[in-house]
C-alpha cells in the first residue's frame, strides 16, 4: 500500500491506518491506509458506493451521527488518535471542518451563518472582533464583494453557488486545520463550479483540503494527490498527474479511461 512518505518527504496532517467502517453488518470500507498532507489538495475519486464519502466522514467523526455505524483502525490528526475514548468530538470538528454536497446554509442571515461557529466556540471577544472574522472569512471564500451590502439578508436567498461559498466561509470562520469537501459542486452549475474550484486553489496550502468528487476532470484540475477507491478499498494513491496519466493498477486505468463507473 502506498502511503505518503513514499511520495514526498512532507509531514502527514492526517494519517489513517487500516480503517474499516461497518454499517451494521455491512462493511462499507475495508482497511484503508493513507497519509494526507497540508500542502496539497487531496482528491478521493471512485464510482458511487465505493466508500470515498464514508471515509471522508470518518475524518471528522460525522459517522458518529449515523446509527449503527462502527469504525475500526486508527486515524491520527497531528499524531493524536481521534477515535480514542475521551476524544472531544466537538473540538475535533472545529479543527476539521466540512462542506457538504448540497449547500446547507442555516435559515439565518448571511452574517449569522458565518458568525455561527465563532459564537459557539467563543472565538470572538466582542462585536468588532466578530465582524472582523466574518469579513475575513467571506473574503477568503470569495463572497465578500457580492454580499457586503446585504449581510442581514437570509443566507438561503443566495444562489446555489453563493450558498456553497457561504458554507465554505462558515467552515473557514472557526479557523480549521483541515477542510473536508463532500462533492461540493455536484449541485452547482458549471460557472459556480469553476468559481468553487478557483477558490479551492486559493485556499490550498493554508488548510489541508480533502475533496470527494465524482468528476475525474475536477480531481485533475484541483488536486495534487488523488486516491482511487473501489468497492470499499483504496486501490491506488499517488500524485494526481501519475494517477491520470500512468496508473499502476489495472482497475484505476479502467476507471480513468471510462471502462466502468
Amino acid at each position: 500500500m502506498t502511503t505518503l512518505h513514499e511520495l514526498d518527504p512532507v509531514e502527514a496532517k492526517i494519517s489513517a491506518r487500516d480503517v474499516s467502517v461497518y454499517y451494521g453488518e455491512k462493511r462499507a470500507l475495508d482497511e484503508v491506509s493513507i497519509d494526507i498532507p497540508t500542502e496539497y489538495v487531496t482528491a478521493f475519486i471512485g464510482p458511487s458506493g465505493c466508500g470515498k464519502s464514508t471515509f471522508l466522514r470518518t475524518l471528522n467523526r460525522m459517522n458518529d451521527t449515523i446509527a449503527g455505524a462502527r469504525v475500526e483502525g486508527e486515524i491520527r490528526l497531528d499524531g493524536e488518535d481521534i477515535y480514542r475514548s475521551g476524544m472531544d468530538v466537538v473540538q475535533l470538528r472545529a479543527r476539521v471542518g466540512m462542506v457538504f454536497q448540497k449547500p446547507n446554509p442555516f435559515p439565518k442571515s448571511i452574517y449569522e451563518n458565518v458568525a455561527y461557529g465563532p459564537r459557539i466556540h467563543g472565538l470572538a471577544a466582542g462585536k468588532g472582533e466578530l465582524d472582523g472574522i466574518v469579513e475575513r472569512s467571506l473574503k477568503r471564500a470569495g463572497l465578500w464583494d457580492e454580499v457586503k451590502d446585504r449581510l442581514a439578508d437570509s443566507g438561503t436567498a443566495l444562489s446555489g453557488g453563493q450558498q456553497q461559498r457561504l458554507c465554505i466561509a462558515r467552515a473557514i470562520a472557526v479557523d480549521p486545520e483541515v477542510i473536508l469537501m463532500d462533492e461540493p459542486c455536484s449541485a452547482l452549475d458549471p460557472i459556480a463550479t469553476a468559481r468553487i474550484e478557483e477558490l479551492i486553489g486559493e485556499l490550498k496550502g493554508r488548510y489541508a483540503i480533502v475533496i470527494v468528487t465524482h468528476s475525474m476532470q475536477q480531481a485533475a484540475r484541483v488536486s495534487q494527490r488523488t486516491a482511487f477507491f473501489h468497492l470499499g478499498k483504496m486501490v491506488e494513491y499517488g500524485k494526481t498527474s501519475d494517477i491520470f496519466t500512468n496508473p499502476r493498477e489495472e482497475r484505476t486505468k479502467d476507471y480513468i479511461t471510462g471502462r466502468y463507473g
Binding site: 471528522n60 460525522m62 451521527t65 446509527a67 466537538v90 473540538q91 475535533l92 470538528r93 472545529a94 471542518g97 466540512m98 457538504f100 448540497k102 446547507n104 446554509p105 442555516f106 435559515p107 439565518k108 455561527y116 461557529g117 459557539i120 466556540h121 458554507c167 462558515r170 467552515a171 472557526v174
Partner: protein
C-alpha cells in the same frame, strides 16, 4: 308502516335495476356486437342502480321536509279543527299535542280538544305518507327505466358512474361546509337580536357581568352584560396559564422525543403522550376539580393567600395546559422533524453540540411551525368547556390573582342556555353573542395558524 320499509323497497328497486342492467350488458357481449362493449357489465349495473336510487333519495328527503306542513293544512281544513283557538300559543300547543298523540297514544295531553284532532292527524299522515312512498318508488323506477333505455354496447357507463361518484363525494364534503355556514348564520341572527337590547360596545367593554334570566328587561338591563371579565378569564386561563404549562412541557418533550430518545423509547413514549389527547375532557374536569383545585387552594393558604378558593383559575389553567401538551408537542415534533438533516449535519460539523444545534438551528428553523401549533392549541384551550365548568367557578372577576375563581366565555354560554330564562330574554341571547365572539376568535386563530404552517412547509419543499 315502519320507516325502514320504503328504504328497503327503494334499495330493492336499485338492486333489481343493477341485475337487469348487468344482464343486458352481458347479452350485448354475448351477441358479439360489432361494437366492442365500452364498459364492463358491472358499470352498466351500477349506472342504472344509482340512477334509480339517487333521484328517489332526493325526492324522499324533499318530501320529508315538505309533508308536515301539508299534513297540518289538511288537519286544519278538517271539521274537527273548527273548535281551535284562532291564534297564539294555545293553538300551537293543542296542535303539537295532537300531533304527538297521533304518533303515540300514550303521550301526555292536557287539552281535551287535542284528542278530537287525533283522527284527522292520523288520516292526513297516512295519506301523505302513502303518497310519499308511492311517488318515491315511481321516481326511482322512472329514472332507473330511463337509464336502462340508454344502455348500448358503446354506452360509456364507466364514465357516467365516475361522474356520479364524484357528485356523491362532493355532496359529502359539502355537508360539513354547509353545517359550518348554518351555525354561523344562526349565530348571526341570535347575536343581532341580543345587540338590539344590549349595545355591542357595552357588551365588549363593560366590566360588570351579572345577567339575571328572571329580571324584566328595562333601561338598566344592558349594564349587567359587560363581558370583559369573561374574555379576561378565558384568555387568562386558556391562553396564559394553560400555555405557561403546555408550551415548555410540550416543546421540551418534542425535543427529547425527536433528538434524544432512542427509537425504541420513542416508539413507546410518543403513543403514551398522545393518549393524553384522547382523554375525555370531562375526565380532566374531575381531575381538576377533585385533585388539583384543592391542592392549589391548600398551597395558596399555606403561602398566605387568603383569597385562595377551591375553584381557581390556576387549577383549571394547569389542567387545561396538561390537556394541550400533546397538541403542542406533536406540532413541534413535526416541525422539528421537517428541518432538513443537512442543517443538523451542517451545525454538528461546525463543532456544535447536540443542544447547541437544537437551540440555535433546529428550533429557530422550526419556529413558524411551533408558533402555529401553539396558536391551534390556544384556540382549542379557549373553546374548552368541561374543565372550566368543573374547576374555574362562576364568578365573573377581573383579577390577575390565579388563586381566585374566575369564569370564562364557554362556562357562561353553558350557564345561560341551561338557565330558566325564556328564549328571547337577553340572558339567553347573550349566549349566542358570546358564542359568536368565541367562534370568530378561534376561527381567526386557526386561519392564521394554518397559513403559517403552509408557508413554512413550502419553505423546505
Amino acid at each position: 308502516m315502519s320507516p325502514a320499509t320504503p328504504v328497503l323497497m327503494a334499495v330493492a328497486l336499485a338492486l333489481v335495476g343493477w341485475l337487469v342492467a348487468r344482464a343486458r350488458a352481458h347479452r350485448f357481449a354475448a351477441e358479439g356486437n360489432a361494437v366492442r362493449l365500452h364498459s364492463l357489465p358491472t358499470y352498466h349495473g351500477w349506472f342504472v342502480a344509482l340512477a334509480a336510487l339517487i333521484p328517489a333519495a332526493i325526492f324522499a328527503i324533499a318530501w320529508a321536509s315538505l309533508s308536515p306542513s301539508l299534513i297540518l293544512s289538511k288537519v286544519l281544513a278538517s271539521p274537527a279543527a273548527s273548535g281551535l283557538p284562532a291564534f297564539g300559543m294555545k293553538r300551537d300547543a293543542v296542535l303539537a299535542e295532537a300531533h304527538d298523540l297521533a304518533y303515540d297514544a300514550s303521550a301526555a295531553a292536557f287539552n281535551p280538544l287535542s284528542r278530537a284532532l287525533v283522527p284527522a292527524f292520523r288520516e292526513a299522515m297516512t295519506l301523505y305518507g302513502t303518497i310519499g312512498i308511492v311517488v318515491t318508488l315511481l321516481v326511482g323506477f322512472a329514472c332507473g327505466a330511463f337509464a336502462f333505455l340508454k344502455l348500448r354496447p358503446d354506452f360509456r357507463a364507466r364514465t357516467h358512474v365516475e361522474r356520479i361518484v364524484m357528485g356523491i363525494l362532493l355532496a359529502a364534503s359539502l355537508v360539513a361546509i354547509l353545517t359550518t355556514l348554518g351555525i354561523l348564520v344562526s349565530l348571526v341572527f341570535e347575536t343581532a337580536r341580543f345587540f338590539q337590547i344590549v349595545s355591542p360596545l357595552k357588551f365588549l367593554l363593560g366590566t360588570h357581568w351579572s345577567p339575571d334570566p328572571m329580571a324584566s328587561v328595562g333601561a338598566g338591563t344592558a349594564d349587567s352584560y359587560g363581558a370583559l371579565p369573561l374574555f379576561w378569564g378565558t384568555i387568562y386561563i386558556g391562553a396564559v396559564i394553560a400555555m405557561l404549562v403546555a408550551i415548555p412541557l410540550g416543546l421540551m418533550s418534542a425535543i427529547y422525543l425527536t433528538q434524544y430518545a432512542t427509537p425504541v423509547l420513542r416508539k413507546w413514549l410518543k403513543p403514551m403522550l398522545e393518549i393524553l389527547a384522547g382523554v375525555p375532557t370531562v375526565v380532566y374536569g374531575y381531575f381538576a376539580a377533585l385533585t388539583v383545585a384543592p391542592a392549589i387552594r391548600d398551597f395558596g393558604k399555606l403561602v398566605g393567600i387568603a383569597s385562595a378558593s377551591s375553584e381557581s383559575a390556576l387549577a383549571a389553567g394547569v389542567v387545561m395546559g396538561i390537556m394541550i401538551i400533546p397538541f403542542v408537542s406533536s406540532m413541534a415534533d413535526d416541525s422539528i422533524a421537517a428541518v432538513p438533516q443537512s442543517l443538523r449535519d451542517g451545525s454538528l460539523a461546525m463543532g456544535a453540540t447536540k443542544y447547541e444545534t437544537i437551540r440555535r438551528v433546529l428550533v429557530p428553523a422550526a419556529l413558524p411551525g411551533i408558533v402555529a401549533g401553539v396558536m391551534l392549541a390556544v384556540s382549542r384551550a379557549i373553546g374548552e368547556t368541561m374543565i372550566v365548568v368543573m374547576a374555574a367557578g362562576a364568578t365573573a372577576r377581573l383579577t390577575a390573582n390565579p388563586f381566585e375563581s374566575m369564569t370564562t366565555v364557554t362556562f357562561q354560554i353553558v350557564a345561560m342556555l341551561t338557565g330558566e330564562g325564556s328564549f328571547d330574554h337577553p340572558a339567553t341571547l347573550s349566549a349566542f353573542a358570546l358564542g359568536m365572539v368565541l367562534f370568530l376568535v378561534t376561527l381567526s386563530l386557526n386561519f392564521v395558524a394554518l397559513r403559517v404552517v403552509k408557508r413554512f412547509r413550502e419553505a423546505y419543499d
